[in-house]
Symmetry: C2
Subunit: 341 residues, 2 copies
Amino acid sequence: MIKRAKGVTISQVAEAAGVARSSVSRAFTRPDMLSPETVERIMKTAESLGYVPNHTARALSTGRHGNIGLIVPDIANPFFPPMIQAAQLEADRSDFCIFLGNTEENPKQEDKLVGRFASQVEGLVLASPRLSDERIRAHASQLPLVLINRDLDGIPRVLIDSGSGVREAVEHLVKLGHSKIAYVSGPSTSWSNKQRRSAMRSAASSLGIAMETVPAVLPSYKSGRNAVGAILATGATAAVAFDDLTAQGVLAGLAEKRISVPSDFSLIGCDDVLGAVTYPALTSVSNRSMEAGRVAVSLLLDMLQSRAVRDVRYVLETHLVIRETTALQPKNSSESFTARV
Amino acid sequence: MIKRAKGVTISQVAEAAGVARSSVSRAFTRPDMLSPETVERIMKTAESLGYVPNHTARALSTGRHGNIGLIVPDIANPFFPPMIQAAQLEADRSDFCIFLGNTEENPKQEDKLVGRFASQVEGLVLASPRLSDERIRAHASQLPLVLINRDLDGIPRVLIDSGSGVREAVEHLVKLGHSKIAYVSGPSTSWSNKQRRSAMRSAASSLGIAMETVPAVLPSYKSGRNAVGAILATGATAAVAFDDLTAQGVLAGLAEKRISVPSDFSLIGCDDVLGAVTYPALTSVSNRSMEAGRVAVSLLLDMLQSRAVRDVRYVLETHLVIRETTALQPKNSSESFTARV
DNA sequence: CTGTTAGCGCATTCAC
DNA sequence: GTGAATGCGCTAACAG
């Protein structure tokens, strides 16, 4: 049983220093309003008493607690940690603390977290939210909100334009001779997913090749692995997956079916979070998650300062990073796949 | 410029429902003290007004704000996200929110974060702290603290015993015929590092083989890659790295020097966070980071409830996961390495 | 420059 | 069961 010192209050310091409580308060928040001597005297007695301003009380009276919330769908997805880290760093620069929320890809959980955070943060960053537009707007009307990878008019947002990278991916595949490609999709409520799918569709059609979509439900290794049968059934000779995790699953599923990558089948991921650690090293579309995290927090802090929302739409471009999972299309190989499946 | 509804207060609900403020308060905290009808009436008007209890105000008056802090050295290190996720989940079960802090492996930053969190959390979990024993004890005397991977008497701690797994690793290498092995170490302030190093030392000596330590400073890909020269210089034919990230760097460094794994050199990681995604798939010591996160939070919540600290020391065992980076030692190969270096 | 006063929103004694 | 009053620790007018 350890004795724990109950916090020293502003009143005790005031009495000990022989000044009014407000002076103590000022000494800490607006020293310029006091004479240097009193400030010093107060600070000295404060220190000797071990006084530490109570954050909660201050928050109650000012309405500002110096906290912001960051909500992500899946912290275990390697796409997010760098973003969280960058957000953290940016918040720290302005002495803000970060509440982290993990929704497990579940909109209900997300809604609940937003509600719980609402009364203790000054603003919120929603990364890749799975919430409906309506819910997001509802929350945005309650407190300052910045979105990452969700494009809603009137709500500040930073968007990672994977479209540009996906287009490069399709061009790359076409150059390699592929004429039918598949897109292994992600969560239906994901803005990034829609963006990637439509970028693929338009790139494919403008380049005159066929493209089909195969669902993978969740962005995960397992989903990717499960999708392999459906991918091959389309007769495609190459695929772009919603993200690297899914791609990694597809890679494993293909290996399991003795289809070698890239000689028999070409595969491209998105987000480039696996680096060169898969085998073969995964060709992928770069991500800008760190910048996204940093910019989102910076935008939010701006809003908090100016008490106004400008309709910011910050777009980050991406590019294809070519590694070893893409190669020339083998002639007439698709039939043999379907035979084997 | 969006109009933002200033939070609905308890008074407004009270007025609208025609009751006293205290009744509204009770309806939310002790419904059993009110007649079921009044509770229902209050709840209904509260909902219609969109009333949400103000966390901050409640905290000020009760002294409990339902937040706990979690501080980790590097969120981008894949060892931590699963731990954070588990901690989050456990906290959520008791309606606690989590403040996340990232120290960038920097003790100063860690100290600063603890200070900043202190006044707004009920307790803290310090994961793999890089702080000195003294600083940790100082903080522990200020607020409830639970440690992960740091063994300090009197402070509740959950320890992942990688020693058991490392011993298995050494035995495995000995069985494969290796007679000289290297340990690629991690941060000097890391308890896990000390534990792993001493486990290696004792296992090596009891099995009668030679062992040398090579420093890698930080647990990272780069550190591992830079350490390769020193590793080979020891003449070892196998190495155990502080963690998988470091091991992955070593793997790359070896490939660069045209030393093939596992035929020329055997390598084992720790924490098993890379799964089978490296090539060759990394043999590694399992981690129990999820359990650690869950248990740590659970312990902390217990402390908060009982207002007492028991001297808990919760140990989680680990095991070797054999994959493809370990093989029989090639005879007389160490000389050729040093020649090539 | 500094002291006085009045809340911030809620929980919690007390009475009734 | 329910209402009225008091205080949590601090900041922010308003005086002087």
